[in-house]
């Protein structure tokens, strides 16, 4: 007899319900495999999002048994609870349909936090040499491997309580650029993250680093931004 998994999947938008499906348990099966099986064999109307399937694109994050996870790299064997999987959309984001959330607010906050690189040189200038072992470059590198999956944003209590809060991913991105010696956008960036809803709204609960699939530490990045903006404010470089 083959073992089955009882899979509850969220169906609907903000209002909806969990619908139960039965999927065969397989070896080395990921949560994304389970969702894909349901969509391809049991219910073609199921909406979900994925792209690379190898943990690079950050598209497939969902809430699995109560925790936000990247489903393509999450093995069913590690998260299954008494033969059951409960899979819902990410928290703290509007649901488009079923398991697909609207990531627009998440990326808009990256823009608000000035998460775009602001070049200090033109393409006519010689390439600047950045020593990889320098303190600033190492701080930038520590925060740079974010795949924009939104898991930290979904796990963050402050995002849940404060709709204006920029969130761990956007602030982590801002911190990596603050430490990028080639970037010239720091005055505007520090002003953006020092405003209401910026880094000082963080309560340091550390859910972001607990859940980050890339093992990044956005809490540490936010602490860095708090220090940097506080110094800038005390020096009179920031107005609040």
């Amino acid at each position: 007899m083959t073992e089955k998994i009882a899979v509850s999947l969220w169906r609907g938008r903000a209002q909806g319900r969990y619908q139960l499906y039965e999927v065969q348990l397989r070896e080395n099966q990921t949560v994304l495999d389970v969702v894909t099986f349901v969509q391809r064999h049991l219910d073609a109307t199921l909406a979900y999002r994925f792209a690379c399937r190898v943990g690079m694109c950050g598209s497939c994050a969902m809430t699995v048994n109560g925790r936000p996870r990247w489903t393509c790299r999450t093995h069913v064997a590690k998260v299954i609870d008494r033969g059951r999987l409960k899979i819902g959309p990410l928290e703290n984001l509007p649901v488009i349909k079923d398991l697909a959330t609207d990531m627009a607010p998440f990326f808009e906050k990256w823009q608000q936090a000035k998460g775009a690189f602001a070049p200090s040189r033109t393409r006519s200038d010689p390439i600047e040499r950045i020593p990889p072992g320098g303190a600033a470059r190492m701080a930038a590198d520590a925060a740079i491997e974010c795949i924009n999956c939104g898991i930290c944003y979904a796990a963050c209590d402050t995002v849940r309580w404060n709709a204006d809060y920029l969130g761990p991913a956007a602030l982590n991105r801002a911190w990596s650029l603050v430490n990028d010696q080639r970037d010239a956008g720091n005055p505007a960036r520090l002003a953006a993250v020092a405003a209401s809803g910026g880094c000082h709204a963080c309560h340091s609960h550390q859910s972001c680093q607990e859940h980050c699939p890339q093992a990044l530490n956005p809490t540490a990045s936010i602490a860095g931004l708090k220090r940097r903006t506080t110094l800038a404010y005390l020096r009179g470089e920031l107005k609040a």
Binding site: H200, A201, T230, Y233, A240
Partner: protein, 109 residues
């Protein structure tokens, strides 16, 4: 919370940490030595030191506490950040008035 409120809250916290220790030490001393109200007032009335210590304490508490209440209301109640800010300013003024009145009562000659 913006950087100005953050700096104010952290600065007042740093100020309050030693002042709380002084306050607790005073409580222990007064109770263990069995000081009466008259004994205490004889030491505090006309004292610039006690007026400064507790005056500073009250100012720090009013700022620190009202910023904290503002944050709690803005995050956990339906109140907007602006309304929470107005409420916190009123609360801070009340704390300041009550606290300074109490300090004046025990320190003015």
């Amino acid at each position: 919370m913006n950087v100005r409120l953050y700096v104010l809250q952290r600065a007042t916290a740093a100020l309050m940490a030693p002042l709380v220790l002084v306050h607790v030490a005073v409580i222990f001393y007064a109770t263990r030595q069995g000081l009466t109200a008259a004994d205490i007032l004889s030491r505090t009335r006309g004292s610039v030191l006690w007026a400064s210590v507790y005056g500073l304490f009250v100012v720090a508490v009013a700022i620190h506490g009202s910023i904290g209440v503002r944050n709690i209301l803005a995050e956990w109640s339906p109140m907007s950040e602006r309304h929470a800010g107005i409420f916190a300013i009123i609360l801070g003024c009340c704390l300041l008035a009550l606290g300074l009145r109490a300090v004046a009562a025990v320190t003015l000659p």
